[in-house]
């Protein structure tokens, strides 16, 4: 079974980012609710009931924005009641709720994005931009960890040598500075060895290639193409204004034409791609396993 995790990171990143971006640039409530539901369902599918606090966001954010927006926003015509001589309008409440849903949806998508895109996948994506940058990134990640380790070692060594006096703040700060400065010499010293090791293995002898752990299978290509197709459709239609909504001064009813339906359907398909994938894989796995 090939979970969404194991798909090509580029295809996954394109799908997740496009879904999130469209959510950011659209104010159609139906589309936003769809987006939030799909995002939550995907998150639930991956994490189950863990992260309870995060689930509370889905309800909490729309509620919070709905309550707060009218306090600042005096637009709208249908006044419900007054607080401190300020009008609380139906439009402002509605707009606040929609904004809250939008924010919650985007948060969910990015949470899934950061869960899925571990450092080696980001590294894979970085290679598309620049293989050299990717190598530097990889070396930096490694060196930061080494730095922290060595700093700890030096501090322990100095402590066990009895170099720090009895509880003495200035002494401690000075000790810290010394440790930091020697850490720099240590890093330079080690850098020379690493550089030799790189040169010995042919670094800089010509054009490099880049090894990756991920390849393109048919599924990945399909995922990428579908993502582009669905998001392209949705974006074009949104740009044409089919999902345009006005909340102020009065909430305009949506125009449920062919354009509206196509855009929402295309977006729904895009947002549900991860779940559809997982569902399909689970089904195949179930069938295969029952034949074992």
């Amino acid at each position: 079974m090939r979970t969404y995790d194991a798909m090509n990171p580029l295809a996954v990143a394109v799908q997740l980012l496009l879904t999130a971006c469209i959510t950011v640039f659209c104010m159609e409530p139906v589309l936003l609710v769809l987006s939030l539901c799909a995002a939550m369902a995907f998150f639930f599918q991956r994490n189950g009931m863990g992260h309870r606090g995060f689930y509370a966001l889905a309800l909490g954010l729309p509620l919070l924005f709905m309550l707060l927006n009218p306090l600042w926003n005096q637009h709208g015509t249908s006044v419900l009641f007054f607080i401190n001589n300020r009008a609380v309008t139906k439009e402002a409440l509605y707009f606040g709720a929609v904004t809250g849903i939008r924010l919650a949806a985007v948060l969910y998508w990015f949470r899934s994005f950061s869960d899925l895109m571990t450092s080696d996948k980001l590294f894979y994506l970085l290679r598309f931009l620049s293989p050299k940058l990717a190598l530097i990134f990889s070396m930096a990640v490694r060196n930061l960890a080494l730095f922290r380790q060595q700093m700890h070692r030096i501090q322990n060594a100095q402590k066990a040598l009895g170099l720090y006096r009895e509880k003495h703040l200035i002494d401690d700060v000075r000790g810290g500075i010394r440790v930091f400065s020697v850490l720099i010499s240590w890093a330079l010293e080690n850098g020379i060895i690493t550089a030799s090791s790189m040169a010995a293995r042919g670094y800089g002898t010509g054009k490099r290639t880049s090894c990756t752990n991920y390849c393109w299978k048919r599924q990945d290509v399909t995922l990428l193409l579908l993502s582009l197709l669905f998001s392209g459709t949705a974006i074009v239609l949104i740009a044409r204004g089919y999902l345009e909504r006005q909340f102020y001064p009065v909430i305009q009813p949506p125009v449920h034409g062919a354009g509206w339906y196509t855009a929402v359907t295309a977006y729904a398909a895009l947002a549900l791609l991860p779940l559809l994938h997982e569902g399909k894989e689970a089904l195949i796995w179930y069938r295969l396993r029952s034949s074992i």
Binding site: S119, D120, L135, S138, M139, V141, R142, A145, L146, Q149, Q150, R153, I154, N156, A157, Q158, K159, A160, L161, G162, L163, Y164, R165, E166, K167, R178, V179, S181, V182, S185, W186, E189, N190, I193, T194, S196, S197, M198, A199, A200, R201, G202, Y203, G204, T205, G206, K207, R208, T209, S210, C211, T212, N213
Partner: protein, 559 residues
């Protein structure tokens, strides 16, 4: 076919009057397994680096180095990088990337290898080196031995025909080192890779090497089959101290017959030549008992609440003025013992007394002030300044005065940067720094790691000097030869418990597996001979068996 030819190579570093290599001539045939050894500073590293174009130091050189008939400068850059592999001493610093699979790929990426070829080669090499479970790991989470194996694998993945190794096992524990050397031999046997290995851990290498190259002061002094070279070497040659126990025994006992290289050789061919009238040397005077400096009583320690016990029911006593060695395998808890004594970690149960006072009673930092000092394994972490003199002055302005009794002359090192010193010099400079804090109990973690035999002797001398000043020394080591020669008592730590503690001649005589090479050689022939000196002493006392003496005389060997 000639793999590597060095002809009349003379190398001088800038601003140095004397050349570091002087008219070196050397030829390696394809498939040779050659070991190169010599004292620190004899030019081994320079010679190895002259054979790898990418690492050639800045210098003036005359003479040529050629690889398979082509002079190095004329080699194509990628051919040179791929076909001559180089592995250095430091396991950690040679690693470039943050994933094992990526580290393996690094060399191939540099050569512009296509993706599918890389994937296949990584799979191949990972399977040959048994690294498949590690591929997704971060190299910094590997053990030292695994790291060095990764360095070897990421050179081998480029399919080199010549492999140069500069003290690759110096930083490894004995088991990892043996694994590494076995892998080298396997590579040599399986693929006829030509191997040139600079080493000072010679016990296992020499018996299996096809060629031995001895260097001294910038020249190759001897080159040929190990047994032949070692038989004719004068017993007081500087490289002798690092040779396998069998070779040292052969020379110390007077050198009769063929020179044995391994324990097996020595037991089957050498020891039977000697009579066994006197089975054991007289027992040494027992060391008079002194007040305990350190007492562990049923101490327990673990790193995590739900983890396993690293120290479990540990009880032992070290007496004032004693040199106590703790030996044991990897993960036995040796270093943990030291960090518990040094107050870096706290035992959760049991009693630890240092000079009669409970460790908890040393409030604040009073434990480290003039009482307990720990010299860590990575001795570089001790240094903070730009010169050795500044390091020492940091602790005490009158360091010259205070170090008058220090059994090693530090004067030539004073103006050097601590990182520029050799491993042995670093150890001694760090010891000097430590001594300025006037510890009464000195804790040393693997002080002989990476040192050659002569540096170890120097270290031992310094330690005995400190003992004479009344310092108690607790030393943790893998180096059982060092423990056997220099400890007053040895303790065997296994799974966090002190299994046995005794004077070396009893301790190692009773162990059958975890014991010195000399003890394994003399076992059954003599009793309680655990060092080369003791065994050789018994050989000399007993003399050759009459028949053996005649045989040797007939064969024309000197007696």
């Amino acid at each position: 076919m000639v793999s590597l030819a060095v002809e009349h190579l003379t190398v001088t570093y800038p601003e140095c009057a004397e050349p570091v290599l002087r008219d070196v001539n050397l030829t390696l045939e394809t498939g040779d397994f050659a070991v190169i050894c010599g004292p620190t500073g004899c030019g081994k590293t320079t010679l190895l680096r002259m054979m790898k174009r990418e690492l050639t130091p800045l210098c003036t050189q005359s003479g040529t180095v050629s690889f398979e008939g082509t002079p190095l400068p004329a080699l194509n850059a990628r051919t040179s990088a791929a076909q001559i592999g180089f592995v250095m001493q430091q396991p950690e610093q040679q690693i470039v990337t943050d994933k094992v699979w990526h580290e393996l790929a690094f060399g191939l990426e540099n050569l512009g290898t296509p993706q599918d070829v890389m994937r296949r080669r990584i799979a191949e090499i990972a399977s040959y080196f048994g690294m498949e479970p590690l591929l997704e790991r971060d190299p910094s989470s590997l053990s030292g031995g695994q790291k060095q194996m990764l360095n070897l694998a990421s050179v081998m993945i480029m399919q080199p025909r010549l492999l140069l190794l500069d003290e690759p096992t110096a930083q490894l524990d004995p088991i990892a080192a043996a694994d590494f050397l076995t892998t080298l031999l396997r590579l040599n046997q399986d693929f006829s890779v030509t191997i040139l290995l600079a080493e000072h851990r010679l016990e296992e290498v020499i018996p299996r090497a096809g060629r031995l190259i001895l260097m001294g002061q910038g020249t190759v002094t001897h080159s040929g089959r190990p047994a032949e070279i070692l038989a004719q070497l004068p017993p007081d040659a500087p490289v002798m101290a690092g040779m396998p126990a069998a070779v040292r025994l052969y020379h110390a006992a007077g050198g009769t017959g063929e020179c044995p290289l391994s324990v097996n050789d020595a037991r089957t061919k050498f020891m039977p030549l000697y009579a066994q009238n006197v089975r054991a040397l007289p027992e040494p005077e027992p060391r008079p008992h002194t007040a305990p400096a350190l007492r562990f009583k049923e101490v327990f320690f673990r790193y995590e609440r739900h983890g396993r016990d690293i120290l479990a029911d540990l009880s032992f006593t070290a007496e004032t003025g004693e040199l106590f060695c703790i030996v044991g395998g990897n993960g036995a808890g040796k270093s943990t013992v030291l960090s518990v004594i040094a107050g870096l970690r706290r035992a959760y149960a049991g009693k630890i007394e240092i000079f009669g006072r409970k460790i908890q009673d040393y409030k604040g930092r009073s434990l480290h002030q003039e009482c307990v000092t720990l010299l860590p394994q990575d001795v570089q972490t001790v240094f903070l300044k730009n010169t050795v003199a500044e390091e020492l002055a940091e602790i005490s302005k009158a360091y010259a005065e205070e170090l008058r009794g220090f059994p090693f002359d530090l004067e030539p090192l004073m103006q050097q940067h601590p990182y520029d010193l050799s491993g042995g010099q670093q150890q001694l400079a760090a010891l000097a720094k430590v001594m300025l804090t006037h510890p009464r109990l000195l804790l040393l973690d693997e002080p002989t790691k990476g040192l050659d035999a002569n540096a170890k002797e120097q270290l031992a001398e310094v330690l005995h000097g400190l003992q004479a000043q009344g310092v108690t020394i607790l030393l943790v080591t893998h180096d059982i030869e060092f423990a056997a020669c220099h400890a007053d008592r040895c303790g065997f730590l296994s799974r966090g418990e002190m299994i046995s503690a005794d004077i070396p001649s009893h301790f190692f005589a009773e162990n059958a597996f975890y014991t010195t090479a000399a003890s394994r050689i003399s076992r059954g022939f003599y009793d309680r001979a655990v060092t080369v000196a003791q065994t050789a002493g018994l050989c000399r006392i007993n003399g050759l068996k009459a028949a053996a003496g005649e045989e040797a005389r007939d064969a024309g060997h000197p007696l």
